[in-house]
């Protein structure tokens, strides 16, 4: 039987002596060859299709994070957060120019990847869903991925409450220790949802004679959060935006562990207010940090 079910292809990541099994909803591995057809006068069709760049591969997956760190009421953090959260938070403020990758194993296929995008959505009283994309890179002559897709029979376990996964139930979006809301003269806004994203830019460093880059230089990161709420600040936004630190504290369903996303002095880049007939006025504001 060649068919492989979803419960036979675990997804694990390894980084700095830590390993985590990801509670992934889906996973997609893609590879591409950068080929160019070579045409010539006097030849019909293409003489051949030849490489003009390195082969690339990427892996993307959606998952619900298992939380391991602690965030207390004074925004102090202790313990290690989950690998991807730690990786994203550390890398965006990193002073080091060379980025190291994460080992990713998906159903027997493995590769080393750089986190290129990381996003998550928080909706009322629901599990947090994160989406990530890793660009897999080779090294010198090694291709980006190795191994073959194989089925793994894991242990059967009893069904249980997802107590340690990130859930919006006890989460908060804080600024300066208080819930972050837009306030008008006599009303406090209700933050209804938060969509967060973080994108990294790298520069691959190639050597002549080698197909794959031997190193990656980290350049910058751009972080955005789109917040939906029910009030609109009629005075509009200042041209230079508004600088405040934001902390998105996501806690587990049992409230014991957490992860934190800290946006350093984001500027308010966009606000919008909209309403449909029969509905309620909603406002969204977009804040952005650049590292």
């Amino acid at each position: 039987m060649a068919t492989i079910r979803y419960d036979q292809v675990p997804l694990t990541i390894h980084y700095n002596d830590r390993s985590e099994t990801i509670l992934a909803y889906n996973c997609a591995l893609s590879e591409a060859a950068d080929l160019r057809p070579v045409k010539g006068i006097g030849f019909k069709g293409a003489v051949e299709q030849t490489p003009q760049g390195a082969r690339t591969a990427s892996i993307s997956f959606s998952y619900t994070p298992v939380l391991t760190g602690i965030v207390d009421t004074f925004l102090e953090t202790t313990g290690s957060f989950n690998i991807i959260n730690d990786l994203a938070s550390g890398l965006k403020t990193s002073k080091q120019s060379i980025a190291s990758g994460v080992d990713i194993v998906f159903g027997g296929i493995s590769g080393e990847g750089l986190l290129s995008s990381y996003s998550l959505s928080l909706a009322p009283y629901s599990p947090v869903q994160c989406d990530v994309n890793f660009e897999l890179f080779g090294s010198g002559e090694n291709i980006p991925v190795s191994g073959s897709l194989t089925a793994t029979e894991g242990e059967k376990e009893e069904q249980s409450l997802a107590g340690t996964v990130g859930h919006s139930a006890y989460s908060s979006f804080m600024t300066s220790g208080s819930p972050a809301t837009i306030t008008s003269e006599d009303q406090t806004g209700i933050v209804q949802s938060v969509d967060y994203s973080l994108n990294f830019q790298y520069e691959p460093v190639y050597k002549l004679g080698k197909e794959f880059p031997f190193s990656f230089l980290y350049h910058s990161a751009e972080e955005e959060a789109s917040i939906t709420e029910n009030v609109y600040q009629a005075s509009g936004i200042a041209f230079t935006g508004k600088n405040e630190n934001f902390h998105l504290n996501i806690k587990a369903l049992d409230g014991s562990t957490a992860m934190q996303l800290k946006m350093d002095e984001p500027v308010l880049s966009n606000t919008q207010v909209s309403v449909d007939a029969g509905g309620l006025v909603n406002a969204t504001k977009q804040i952005r940090s650049v590292y």
């Binding site: 419960d7 009283y125 059967k156 376990e157 996964v165 908060s172 309620l280």
Partner: protein, 267 residues
């Protein structure tokens, strides 16, 4: 010995006041916990996928002044259901629909459905007070004490009426909240009024929804105590739009027409 719970062992109280004449009562919840299927795992974990709500519905006879109508506004209510020696409390219930109906040979009945955005269960969600009966004097309405004012009925016999008011709500949840930070009472309220008549000179209207054939009616409905003139409930609607007429006849009955009027109430 087989034990069971009968009607005399049950009681519904709303905001500390007992509801009399209850004919049926339903309440409950359906968990929003959803299974999370993940790659490479042979177990199922569950987590709430959306805020949890519950619902409660009741039907009662109109045996005193209309109890539920006051909750068609923006005010929520709490309550307690006693059954045998147990009790279930609920908080922040918002009426989502209200109905009133009567046919010849029946006592007028009221119905309500409410969504519970607070808590529901066997816990102490508020300090229980001993619920007092709503009224010591039961006033029963009767079909013979209902007055309906609508031009068509002078010579046409009304066999039944049915009034339904939908009171939609929109809960606004903080993304971290278990209960809504605010429950908005939407507008407008949809009103549906249905009559069933035995026609004499009633004239079926034209099906085309064109200006010269469109029918609007002012309707007033007064429900008095049985065989008396003291009003227990009255409704008055202006410019109700006639949206449906259904003529029915068979070999064993008198011809009847069911027609429906629609209206809206803006808050």
């Amino acid at each position: 010995m087989l034990s069971r719970i009968r009607r005399e062992e049950q009681k519904l109280a709303v905001n500390g006041t007992g509801v009399n004449g209850v004919q049926s009562l339903n309440f409950g919840y359906e968990s929003t916990a959803q299974p999370i299927s993940t790659l490479g795992h042979k177990n199922m974990i569950y987590a709430p996928s959306s805020p949890q709500t519950a619902s409660i519905s009741a039907e009662s006879l109109l045996v005193y002044d209309d109890f539920f109508l006051e909750f068609t506004g923006a005010i929520p209510f709490s309550g307690q259901i006693d059954y045998k020696n147990k009790k279930v409390q609920f908080t922040e219930a918002y009426l989502s629909s209200y109905s009133s109906s009567c046919s010849i040979g029946e006592i007028p009945t009221l119905g309500m459905q409410a969504e519970v955005y607070g808590e529901l269960g066997t816990g102490e969600f508020f300090t229980p007070s001993s619920s007092s009966p709503h009224d010591t004097t039961v006033q029963t309405a009767g079909y013979n004490s209902i007055n309906i004012d609508l031009d068509e009925f002078n010579t046409n016999r009304v066999m039944s009426y049915s009034l339904d008011i939908q009171t939609p709500r929109t809960p606004i949840y903080d993304f971290a909240g278990r209960t809504p930070a605010e429950v908005v009472s939407d507008s407008p309220l949809d009103v549906t009024l249905q009559f069933n008549i035995q026609p004499d000179d009633y004239e079926i209207k034209n099906m085309r929804f064109v200006p010269e054939e469109t029918v609007f009616r002012d309707v007033s409905l007064t429900i008095n105590e049985n065989s008396k003139n003291n009003s227990m409930q009255s409704f008055s609607f202006n410019n109700m739009l006639l949206v449906s007429e259904q003529y029915q006849i068979n070999t064993e009955s008198t011809a009847s027409i069911a027609f429906t009027l629609k209206g809206t109430i803006f808050r």
